[in-house]
């Protein structure tokens, strides 16, 4: 097994997932909803895709899993390499042998992802049977083992519960048990703790961290919550308007934020510390696709905007530490005459 603490920049490690230039357009839209998104995840690492509603983070993950409905969403470019194959071009049959097996996922609302008329143990067993040559009994044994692993109390009894008999936190544990039952190389989690209470969220985050240490599974976590990002991410990609505007190791994103959107997002969060006076805000709201600016998509809301931002698409430029930002005005201090350190 790979040493989980290997940094992504080590270079020697083959990434589990490598997405390059992914673009997605919805039927009838004038612009790509996801526009040239690239990232990679190494074994044992967690990449957080962070951004607000409509930034394209969920569409990116659904595209990667081959779950976008072809009728309304078209992949207009790019590739997503997983175990040497491009998941964007796999046939339905091929992707179904990967999904839930080598690549697993959990979603925000476990109640809607579990089938309400089947016992939870049977549903986890089913996921095992689907991908492995095992007997029903062996599959049930595996389900029980997984229930223990995700620390469901009285696991033997819980196997025969229906989803509605479990609390939200327990249901999410069942989802994690199901996702990890086939030892996936990649776990994609879309807002896995958003629907949970804060004390339960803390339990689930702790569990996910521990299981990852144990199994070395790579994780792509989609969230809007910068607190969750700080707790669980190794690497971060901040998305706005369908593009990655800033990406890098988690400490660098928080300690050295470069893109005005990242900075605005962080400074508009109220702090648990003493009251900080008026909150900073990001003015306005995300423009609809028909009004998306041709250049930087944040141009309509950016306090540092200049004319060329509206017409030129800023490239994602990296420093030597794997920290990239797509902003024509960065570094801000240099360009705005503030003496830096």
């Amino acid at each position: 097994m790979q040493e989980p603490s290997l940094p992504e920049t080590a270079g020697a490690v083959e990434p589990v997932l490598q997405v390059r230039g992914l673009s997605v357009r919805f039927a009838g839209q004038p612009v790509d909803t996801v526009d040239g998104v690239s990232f990679s995840i190494a074994p044992g690492r967690t990449l957080c895709l962070v951004g607000e509603s409509g930034c394209g983070k969920s569409v990116t993950s659904l595209a990667t899993m081959g779950l976008l409905p072809a009728k309304v969403a078209k992949i207009t470019g790019g590739e997503a390499l997983f175990e040497g194959r491009d998941t964007l071009t796999l046939s339905r049959h091929e992707i179904e042998t990967v999904r839930g097996n080598r690549m697993a996922m959990i979603f925000q609302e476990p109640m809607t992802s579990l089938n309400p008329v089947f016992k939870v143990g049977a549903q986890v067993a089913e996921a095992v049977i689907r991908h492995r040559k095992v007997s029903r009994l062996e599959a049930r044994e595996r389900a029980l083992e997984m229930f223990r692993k995700v620390r469901i109390p009285a696991p033997e009894r819980r196997l025969d519960d229906y989803p509605h008999q479990l609390s939200g936190g327990m249901r999410q544990r069942v989802m994690i048990a199901m996702a990890l039952a086939n030892d996936p190389k990649l776990l994609i989690a879309d807002e896995p703790t958003t629907a949970l209470d804060v004390t339960i969220q803390a339990q689930i985050l702790e569990l996910m961290r521990e299981l990852q240490r144990e199994t070395g599974t790579a994780m792509l976590l989609i969230t809007h919550d910068l607190g969750v990002v700080a707790e669980i991410a190794d690497d971060v990609a901040v998305m706005y308007g369908g593009r990655i505007v800033e990406t890098g190791p988690v400490e660098r994103i928080f300690n050295d934020p470069q893109h005005p959107y990242t900075i605005g997002l962080m400074s508009s969060m109220p702090s648990l510390d003493a009251r900080s006076g008026r909150l900073a805000t990001i003015s306005g709201s995300v423009p609809p696709p028909s009004e998306m600016p041709a250049g930087c998509r944040f141009a309509t809301r950016c306090p540092f905007v200049e004319e060329r931002c509206r017409v030129e698409v800023p490239p994602l430029e990296f420093d030597g530490f794997g920290h990239g930002r797509a902003c024509l005005r960065a570094p801000l201090e240099d360009n705005f005459g503030i003496k830096g350190a």
């Binding site: 607000e52 803390a202 962080m266 003493a274």
Partner: protein, 360 residues
């Protein structure tokens, strides 16, 4: 609790039990609010915090008599609400307004924004048609919308704009008390900040008293003066906001504070999360309701219920409050920001102001 001119609303031993009886289920009583007393001072922002099922939303609805209590008393401005006739209650409703969590479902989709904001004016004022129209326009502008939005329908607006419409509607009857049930929790962070700033401005401008129901402790820290923490239908701690965050006395409050993911890498990892699930309010645990999850529980905690007792204005319901020294939020800890981040946050604020961006 003695009534004083300072008190705008008070609750005395409020109880709300819901009977779960239905065609397919036999009666099980949900003890949503189970003996809550509090008093809110004129002009303050009072927050009620807790997790799902703690009874905070039920309490908010009881306070304005959107639902009737099983027992207990609510006194608003010296008048006992529980004894009021419908007619008197109607008059009072103008003074107490509600802002709901979900701006998508709390606005009638078939009414224009103008009609939505005008409705309370029709009910509570004697303004002429022209007068109402003028007032609607000025309210819309005040909450950061354009007057000509009055002709549009709610679905044409974003979540943040819809919450502004909800606020304009709440303000129309010139209330003294505004109750917000999770008013910003459905919004994105950047939009949430806009609405928080707006509500704080309006509070000053109109001399409002605010009661905010929320689960987001950072929002509460930012907005409120005093905070009540609820667990399974009871208030377990009630104190001034700094006091509560920096020196919590109830183990549940400490657990809540520690469970919040802090947006600073490495800041929060060493805390052991609270074990177990929240018990059902149908059958709350004996004694202290928190004892099944409390890391400090002793035998006494499962046997007798601790009263909500005060020590210099800091109310706490815990047998062991005096002997425990609990950990609060370390001030400066959450924001041990790097100099680079601090500089850039300042730069962002400065340019936001210069850009004349709508900052509320």
């Amino acid at each position: 609790m003695a009534h004083s001119a300072e008190t705008i609303i008070e609750a005395d031993d409020l109880v709300k039990h819901f009977s779960g009886a239905s065609l397919v289920r036999s009666a099980a009583v949900v003890r949503a609010v189970d003996g809550v007393s509090l008093s809110v001072r004129r002009g303050e922002t009072f927050a009620i915090v807790g997790e799902a099922g703690c009874g905070k939303s039920t309490l908010a609805r009881l306070l304005v008599r959107l639902i009737d209590p099983t027992s207990g008393r609510i006194v608003y401005d010296g008048a006992d609400l529980t004894g009021l006739s419908n007619r008197e209650m109607h008059r009072l409703r103008a003074k107490v307004q509600f802002v709901f969590q979900d701006p998508f479902s709390s606005l009638n989709p078939r009414m224009t924004v103008g009609k939505l904001v005008e409705e309370p004016l029709l009910i509570h004022t004697k303004l002429s048609r022209a007068g109402r129209r003028q007032r609607v326009a000025s309210l819309l502008v005040r909450v950061g919308l354009r007057a000509d939005y009055a002709k549009r329908y709610p679905h044409e607006f974003s979540g943040g704009q819809r919450q502004r419409i909800g606020i304009a509607r709440a303000l129309a009857s010139e209330p003294d008390l505004l109750i917000g049930d999770e008013p910003v929790s459905a919004l994105d962070v950047s939009v949430q900040a806009q609405i928080i700033n707006l509500v704080e401005d309006l509070k000053d401008e109109f001399g409002l008293t605010l009661i905010i129901i929320a689960h987001d402790l950072a929002v509460i820290r930012h907005m409120s003066d005093r905070v009540a923490v609820m667990y399974l239908g009871k208030i377990v701690e009630l104190a001034g906001v700094d006091e509560l965050f920096e020196r919590p006395q109830h183990p549940y409050t400490q657990a809540l504070l520690q469970a919040i993911p802090v947006p600073a890498p490495g800041a929060n990892v060493e805390h052991v999360p609270l074990a177990g699930d929240i018990p059902s309010p149908v059958a709350p645990p004996s004694g202290c309701r928190f004892h099944t999850r409390c890391p400090y529980a002793v035998e006494r905690c499962s046997e007798s219920e601790p009263p909500l007792a005060a020590e210099s204005g800091h109310l706490v319901a815990c047998h062991r409050a005096a002997e425990l020294s609990l950990e609060g939020v370390s001030v400066g800890g959450a924001s041990n920001r790097s100099p680079a981040a601090t500089r850039r946050f300042e730069l962002y604020r400065k340019f936001s102001r210069q850009a004349g961006a709508i900052t509320d």
